[in-house]
Amino acid sequence: MTSYQLASVVGRRARAARLRRLLRGKLVLVAAGAVVALVVLAAVFAPLIAPYDPNAVDPMAVSQGSSAAHWLGTDDTGRDIASRLLHGARPSLLAPLVVTVGAGLVGTALAVAAAWLGGWWDRAITAVLDVVFGFPGLVLAVVGAAVFGAGLKIAVLTLTIAYLPYVARVVRGSALKERNLPYVAALRMLGLGGGRIVLRHVVPNLLPLVLVQTATAFGYTLLDVAAFSFIGLGAQPPTAEWGLMVAQGAPGILAGAPQESLYAGLAIVVFVVACSLLGAGLSQRLTGGER
């Protein structure tokens, strides 16, 4: 082999490796995005694409495996698991969406207020958030369920409160930094009021961070909502919801019909992993590799 050929081969290999590295990062992001998009579409169009009514019982087809009629089989009352998964995507996605959007909005508002007002306000808001941070979400959910009764709405409310500090702590740090940037002082020197500076300048500049925080949290909140439903503090039967389906299918695992728990669990795992990857990719793109 001549040195020219060698150089060309080495060059080609290096180029191929570089291409692979580049594509790998992008591929993961694209694949994660595709999974998330697909699940969201499935949730939106569930009534159109689901082959059966999710709550239609069929005593003649109980705990069946996969078949042409029931792709993913049926549960112990003969309900079609594929249809239940599709319909179940709606509360399973909507609940964590409400949690992350709620925690994102309220958390950002609290964080910016604390950072901007400073002093006594900052100490009070931070202290309250620290107290909330001290309680695991589960404890809050149990308290909420004990006071108001178990249900998806209560689970969403308690989770929103539980997730506030996660958003607020990070945003407050950045808001403090932003507040002390010279351009904020320059805006004041132009005679602009505090409210306008906060709403038109500080908050918009913090948005990428808020977006990344909430996008990353979304996967975890979905897991939490599913967990709450699993232990009976979230969605109640006969609602089709992924966490609840895992719980209801549990007896079947020992009875040789694991399909309900299996597919519901898979749906949760795949979606949460896709969300995390998407969140990580977003964070790299939007905040320049921070976090």
Binding site: G118, L181, P182, Y183, A185, A186, L187, R188, M189, L190, G191, L192, G193, R196, R200, H201, P204, N205
Partner: protein, 346 residues
């Protein structure tokens, strides 16, 4: 009260303390200074001497926890006594500031046009179209070519010199009577510096602005301003007409500063630094703050703080001002090479 007798801007025994490390520390000891309407005063001094804080006190924009004694009066009205609404009126209509580093003083995510019109539209309630037309005209006035296109660009797309002109335009948009320029050319390269200075000077001339110009550059200050005020460690140590700065500066610190300027006619000459390091304002002892570094310091200088007193048509806070006591060591007369040999010998 008539405006003819009242200076546009007046510092009256201004003293500022800031909470640092748990205690309230003095950052400005005493500043007495009056700017007549239409005049230009250069405020010079080393970093940390309190120049910028003095300027910021005019717009009521001091760091949190700052306490002010004495007074700053704009057109006879006390700024520290102003309420928030009055302060905003002052900032949006009467006084404006140009900063050292334009890039950090503008929101990087908003367009130049947004930045320039925001105060006009939101604070002064001018219609957007009118504000935009006004701002484009201003950009032309400060020699920004292609003003319409610049309005749609973001700060990162503009060079430092161009951005500083945008900042000057934003200051002029307020149609202020007072312009505070806080080292407006320090972050720029030398040729851009000259252009920006010319623009500020031109705007001052055309609009009859009063200018408080903060700088490290004695020669620049003397060229642009009518009077020069020198600050050291939070004290205003000397104030005199600009044309007399080089020849007749009376304070020992001013003389030392003048002596440390590079001389372009002597190649490879060693710069004569003022010995010692600049004091922070709160480190100043009971005597003259410059005494520890002063070649002419006597026992009295360490013991007793000198009061500002009239020297010719200026003022100097010095016990032994240069012109008054010709017996004292004349810094200009010291042979720099003699000093060098002495230092090497040690």
């Amino acid at each position: 009260m008539t405006t003819a007798t009242v200076p546009l801007l007046e510092f009256d025994s201004l003293r500022v303390t800031l909470p640092l490390g748990g205690t309230q520390r003095t950052v400005i000891h005493r500043v007495d200074l009056a700017l007549a309407a239409g005049s230009a005063v250069g405020l010079v001094g080393e970093s940390g001497s309190g120049k910028s804080l003095t300027a910021r006190s005019v717009l009521g924009l001091l760091p949190e926890g700052a306490r002010i004694e004495g007074d700053v009066r704009f057109d006879g009205a006390s700024v520290p006594a102003m309420r928030q609404a009055e302060l905003r009126t002052l900032r949006s209509r009467h006084a404006a500031m140009v900063f050292q580093d334009p890039r950090t003083h503008i929101n990087p995510l908003r367009t130049v046009g947004d930045f320039l019109t925001e105060a006009l539209v939101s604070v002064r309630r001018e219609p957007r179209a009118q504000a935009e037309a006004k701002v484009v005209a201003l950009l032309r006035e400060v020699h920004v070519a292609d003003a319409e296109r610049r309005m749609r660009q973001r700060p990162s797309e503009l060079s430092g010199g161009l951005l500083q002109r945008v900042m000057i335009a934003s200051a002029l948009a307020v149609e202020p009577r007072l312009l505070l320029a806080d080292e407006p050319t320090t972050a720029l390269d030398v040729t851009t510096q000259a252009e920006v200075m010319a623009i500020i000077d031109e705007a001052r001339e055309n609009r009859g602005l009063t200018l408080l110009f903060i700088t490290h550059d004695l020669a620049l200050a003397a060229a642009v301003c009518d009077r020069i005020a020198v600050m050291y460690a939070g004290h205003l140590v000397e104030e005199l007409p600009a044309r007399r700065l080089v020849g007749d500066a009376a304070h020992r610190y001013t003389r030392a500063l003048l002596a440390s300027r590079p001389d372009p006619t002597v190649p490879d000459a060693r710069l004569r630094a003022v010995d010692g390091r600049p004091l922070s304002a709160f480190e100043a002892g009971p005597g003259c703050p410059f005494a520890p570094r002063c070649a002419a310091a006597q026992e009295l200088c360490h013991r007793e703080r000198p009061e500002p007193r009239a020297v010719a048509d200026g003022r100097a806070a010095c016990h032994f001002p240069h012109a008054v006591d010709p017996q004292a060591v004349d810094l200009d007369a010291v042979d720099p090479h003699a000093a060098d040999t002495e230092r090497t010998a040690r």
